[in-house]
């Protein structure tokens, strides 16, 4: 893998730090008074998802990380791994619980997910911003109430629980925002 000097730092650059792949969010060149320059770098650890800061001496180098992002289709879960497929090459990828983490609530067969691969293995699975999911469990709907006021919990086919308006019934398909885990509207056919 190529190495990168601080002069090449820019947001989005993937590099290795303390054994973990990281992505630069922000890079600030700092030159104190008449002293030696350094770079203040804000980055995301792609393994843990945590955002952190690190100071580098200007001119120092880091090793690049073999990290790419591709769209993969979710296939199934075998109890230990979640399996994805590249719809173009039919190549299979197995993601572990760490890579799935919070996306677990939004995995639906045949849906496309943004998967970050590190050295060819899934590191992180990001769901689309919106998914359509069927309600499997909720209190009976209140007929005629379309105001959207109040609300009640509803369990979706993936196991996720979101707050929905009172008029929603079991079996309805809802559009859900995965970033906030919130109901948007009834899905249009």
């Amino acid at each position: 893998m190529a190495s990168y000097s601080t002069n090449e730092f820019k947001s989005g650059l993937k590099f290795m730090l303390d054994g973990d792949p990281c992505s630069i969010i922000e890079n600030e060149f700092v030159k104190p008074g008449k002293g030696q320059a350094f770079n203040r770098v804000k980055f995301r650890n792609l393994k843990t998802g945590r955002v952190n800061e690190r100071t580098f001496k200007s001119g120092d180098s880091v090793e690049g990380a073999d990290v790419i992002e591709i769209d993969l289709e979710y296939s199934y879960n075998d109890g230990e791994f979640w399996h994805f497929m590249d719809p173009n090459t039919f190549e299979q990828y197995a993601a572990d619980a760490n890579a799935i983490s919070e996306s677990k609530d939004w995995l639906k067969e045949q849906y496309s997910y943004l998967v970050t691969l590190w050295n060819g293995s899934p590191l992180l699975v990001t769901p689309p911003n919106f998914v359509n999911l069927t309600v499997t469990e909720t209190d009976p709907g209140v007929r005629g109430d379309t105001s959207g006021g109040g609300g009640k919990p509803a369990t979706l086919e993936t196991g996720a629980v979101v707050r929905v308006p009172l008029f929603i019934e079991i079996g309805e398909v809802l559009k859900v925002d995965t970033r906030s885990a919130s109901y948007v509207e009834r899905a249009k056919d």
Binding site: N7, N27, E28, F29, V30, K31, P32, G33, K34, G35, Q36, A37, F38, R40, V41, N52, E53, R54, T55, K57, S58
Partner: protein, 323 residues
């Protein structure tokens, strides 16, 4: 349609404000009888300062190396030695490798020298210029030592290197465990990472004066009221930016030559190019530089503050990466 980005990096309104700022600067100095000068951008000598890198080029017929000025300081001091009296210059300056949100390898410097003013008098003049041209409130003036004591409860003139080092690791969580630097390196790091961000709390420009003697650069070293050796050097901070650097100028050519040689030794120990010492400057100082004070101010940064921009490229007609 071509996809090449040929457009200016700044809004045309900002360029108008720049033109106004330049006119205001010229008026400010005209009212004080300070003469505008122009000196060569290309010079056969260059500053030796360890962490200041010049661009260089060659004169084709002879192959003579020329350096693009990092500041017009040396040429202006030769004018002073020749009896110019008070002078100022608005000049393009060049610093290799300095590129970032607040840095451009090419920028505009306002530099002025005042045989008529002493160290404190020059601080007041910088303050007056900022008030008049940028509408800033009156500057707060505080010594480097006091600022360190107030912020870090540490006396920078007495502290041992290991004390500074442990303070740096305590206050700068982003610092990797294997960070190594020298005494001044720790002082500069604490200054820029811990103290500078606090200066915003003054809601006014801050003039920090009397730097440690080891950071004198081209300033005189003298005794502060506590009988400690300090550099007659000040830095002006405003809106989170380092805006200007001023000296009570070191007049002694022998002392100056020693500093240049020490710089070059440090350069060679770091495998950096040793720079040709400006013998013409030393000869001019030999002949006699009048007692004077001088200050250099980043005009683009000042324009950034005036126009509320957050990136230097937003106030340049064409930023370095689109030049």
């Amino acid at each position: 349609m071509s996809s090449i980005n040929w457009q200016p990096s700044s809004e045309l309104e900002i360029l108008k404000r720049r033109a106004q700022l330049l006119a205001d600067v010229r008026l400010f100095f005209a009212e004080r009888n300070v003469m505008e000068v122009q000196t060569p951008v290309l010079s056969q000598a260059a500053p030796t300062a360890t962490y200041l890198d010049s661009f260089s080029t060659d004169y084709a017929p002879t192959g003579q190396h020329y350096y693009l000025q990092t500041s017009p300081e040396f040429a202006m001091k030769r004018l002073l030695a020749a009896g110019s009296g008070d002078i100022y210059q608005i000049a393009p300056v060049f610093r290799n490798g300095e590129l970032g949100r607040l840095h451009s390898p090419e920028f505009t410097m306002l530099e002025w020298y005042r045989p008529a003013l002493d160290y404190v008098g020059l601080m007041y003049e910088v303050d007056a210029l900022l008030q008049q041209l940028a509408g800033f409130p009156a500057a707060v003036k505080i010594s480097y030592q006091q600022l360190y004591i107030d912020t870090l409860q540490c006396d920078p003139l007495l502290a041992e290197t290991k004390t500074l080092k442990s303070l740096a690791f305590k206050h700068i969580p982003s610092l990797p465990d294997n960070w190594e630097t020298d005494h001044d390196g720790w002082l500069e790091l604490l200054m820029s990472e811990v103290i500078e961000p606090q200066l915003l709390n003054y809601h006014a420009p801050v003039i920090v004066f009397d730097f440690p003697a080891s950071q004198a650069q081209l300033a005189n070293v003298y005794q502060n009221p506590n009988q400690q050796k300090v550099a007659a050097r000040f830095e002006v901070y405003a809106g989170g930016l380092e805006l200007a650097n001023g000296y009570d100028e070191c007049l002694d050519p022998v002392e100056l030559k020693q500093r240049f040689e020490r710089d070059n030794q440090l350069r060679s120990s770091q495998n950096k190019t040793v720079m040709p010492i400006d013998e013409r400057l030393l000869a001019a100082q030999e002949a006699g530089l009048p007692a004077c004070t001088g200050v250099a101010m980043g005009l683009d940064r000042l324009l950034m503050l005036i126009s509320g921009k957050t990136q230097l490229s937003e106030v340049l007609s064409f930023g370095f990466e689109h030049s």
